[in-house]
């Protein structure tokens, strides 16, 4: 497998690109060098590991399209080096470059860029023809690639007979048929309508699970970037302003530009349960008996406790009323009073999928690891709080940066939900009343 390295790369279009690079290196801005040329990419450094899905995100004019085109040599850098595996793309001959493009790096285009006069199968086979693969094998491999993207039946159609989403699947199949380690995707889903786009994103993630290619994905859509990218580079005015995982970028934006950018991202799709979960307030051991469980609840000032076994595997919850009944009946185990109907979520569940369990659950939603062990809980207030972007240092005018807790509480109050049992709030009257009707409902 092959990784990619971008080292101090500049790309300036115009009459005197080298002069512009010299001045940019001395600290000039993009505007300062306008008279010598247009600086599309300024001092870009990237290390993209093999097998990584790397997203370059930026608005139009940020230089992301130019950057991706330097990764397969469609543009040559004005200064700096682009290394694809061991090959320095700036130093290879034209014939070597063609061979690298045939065997190591393929590309998916925004407007699909299919050959309109060739069938879907011939389009998928196009890179194979360039590689010199013979006809029968070409046909087989193209068919396989089409089946991978769910278009096995469409080989004999012409591209214009397909819908936009299907055409881009052909574009993807063509790139997959080339069987290169590196896949460049230039705004590949931007021309598709939102539902199809989401479908394609899911399909790409699914394919990537089995193929493990090195993917460089260009987009202007932050949600898409966060959804697809193992790591994200944010570009602005030709410069890379931040590189990191989506959670890093969300929780610690490098500057106000990035902070503004992420202000309206759908955080629930990016943040996972593990990033917002808290320590559970009351945990009772299954073998401990109702008295111990009651004491745990009293100490934590809550009305119910999570029940785990010796290996900390979550068994369910026990409510104070049930524990009191059990104590009166002189039982010494929790057997029979553990409510197992509670839905738990796993550590890497996106927050968007935590809302439904949170709405149904009278207790904070328990979070479990892959072995079913209780590792934390998500109170509803925490869930709502996580959706609010962090405060920027100097909030720009008109940017809805809400750091005060007021809107959170407003939302919580407005929500027609039963009161939360919030652990760790000592001011609250204890024990926090788990709504009686809720309990009876569960029993009934």
């Amino acid at each position: 497998m092959t990784g990619l390295r971008v080292e101090g790369v500049y790309k300036v279009f115009g009459r005197r690109p080298n002069e512009a690079v010299k001045r940019l290196r001395d600290g000039a801005t993009r505007e300062d060098v306008r008279q010598w040329g247009t600086a599309a990419v300024i001092d870009a450094d990237l290390q993209i590991a093999s097998g990584e899905t790397f997203v370059v995100m930026g608005l139009s004019g940020s230089g992301k399209s130019t950057l991706i085109r330097m990764l397969n040599g469609l543009w040559r850098p004005t200064a700096g080096r682009v290394l694809l595996g061991d090959d320095d793309l700036g130093a290879v001959s034209a014939a070597q470059l063609r061979s690298i493009r045939q065997r190591k790096v393929s590309m998916v285009f925004q407007h699909f860029a299919l050959l309109p006069h060739r069938t879907v199968r011939d389009n998928a086979a196009y890179p194979l023809a360039l590689q010199g693969v013979d006809k029968a094998e070409r046909r087989d491999k193209a068919q396989q690639a089409l089946e991978m993207v769910g278009l096995g039946q469409w080989g004999d159609s012409l591209p214009h007979e397909l819908s936009g989403g299907m055409r881009q699947r052909v574009g993807l199949a063509r790139a997959l048929a080339a069987d290169t380690d590196i896949l460049l995707m230039d705004e590949a889903f931007s021309a598709l309508d939102p539902l199809i786009r989401r479908e394609m994103q899911d399909q790409l993630l699914e394919l990537q699970q089995t193929l493990g290619k090195t993917i460089v994905f260009i987009t202007h859509d932050l949600n898409e970037a966060m959804y697809l990218g193992d790591r994200i580079a944010v570009m602005r005015d030709g410069r890379i302003v931040q590189v990191g995982t989506s959670e890093q970028i969300l929780s610690a934006p490098a500057d106000d530009y990035v902070a503004q950018f992420i202000a309206d991202v759908d955080r629930t799709r990016v943040l996972t349960a593990s990033s917002v979960m808290r320590r559970p307030a009351a945990v009772a051991f299954a073998g401990g008996g109702p008295r111990l469980a009651l004491r745990t609840m009293r100490d934590a000032q809550v009305a119910a406790a999570y029940v785990v076994d010796r290996a900390r595997v979550l068994k369910g919850i026990v409510r104070d009323a049930d524990a009191v009944d059990a104590t009166r009946a002189n039982k010494d185990t929790l057997e029979g009073i553990v409510d197992t109907s509670l839905t738990s979520v796993s550590v890497d569940t996106p927050l968007s999928d935590v809302f439904a369990p949170a709405a149904e659950s009278p207790l904070p939603v328990p979070v479990t690891d892959e072995k079913g062990r209780l590792v934390g809980v998500i109170p509803r207030a925490t869930l709502l709080e996580a959706m609010v972007p962090p405060e920027t240092h100097t909030p720009a005018e008109g940017t809805p940066v809400a750091a005060e807790p007021t809107p959170v509480l407003d939302t919580a109050d407005a929500a027609p939900l039963a009161p939360l049992s919030v652990p760790g709030l000592p001011d609250e009257p204890a024990p926090a009343p788990v709504p009686a009707d809720d309990t009876t409902e569960v029993r009934a």
Binding site: A113, L115, P116, H117, H160
Partner: protein, 300 residues
Amino acid sequence: MNASIFALDMTDEGVPRLPLGSWVSDAISWITSTFRGLFAAIKSVLEGAYDGLDTVLGGPPFWFIAVALALIALFAKGWKLAVGSLVGFVVIAGVGQWGNAMDSLSLVILASVIALLLAVPLGIWAARNDRVSQAIRPVLDFMQTMPAFVYLIPTVVIFRVGVVPGIVATVIFAMAPGVRFTELGLRQVDREVVEAGHAFGSSEGRILRQIQLPLAMPTIMAGVNQVIMLALSMVVISGMVGAGGLGGDVVQALNRVNVSLGFEAGLAVVILAMFLDRVTSALGTRSKTAKAVAAASASH
């Protein structure tokens, strides 16, 4: 008057007389004497090609050729055009112009083929190179707007009267739209598709053959149609220099003020023109590629 003082000829408007005409004339005679051998070779090649083509078209009996041309129309468009063409050919034969029409058709085909052999590569070059494009644009303007029969003068000087100056003048006059449409067609090809060719490691030549030319073909075919129509109009004019065919009769009718001959020869030109136009424009749109390209651009 003042002219004697400045030792310069003056025009009636008081501007020094620019001797452009005599320069061109001098240049032509220099060219004629310097490249005499080359021109002789060109002349014999063109004459040979024309005689060969004319034998093919004019040699066989009328019915044979008329049906063959109608079949081409059938293949290109459909039975309506085929029947219409056949009726037209019968009319041409009926006014006694069939032989002339075949002479002219040979001239048109030969001149168009040569014009396209020159125009298409030139158009490709212009499409790939902005400087070339800028350089040839005024030349093309000149070639297209210069009154057509002006070309006949130097070609007659170089090649003497006959078929050859007619062919050469026709080639020059008809070439321009071939270059223009080829360049336009290639430049209109979706940049991203060409980029895809590069991105998958195709060579320039393959991109031209497999992507650019097929996608530009409908536009190039429109250029081919224009070239043929211009060639036909020029072939009539070259009747003036003894190129024969329908043009010869038209010129003769003009000289003798012979209305009936002029009408009959003119009608034959019109029928031939309609046949060539319908067939070539149909050929441009009937190929699978052309249909796919048209459908693709419609669905964008």
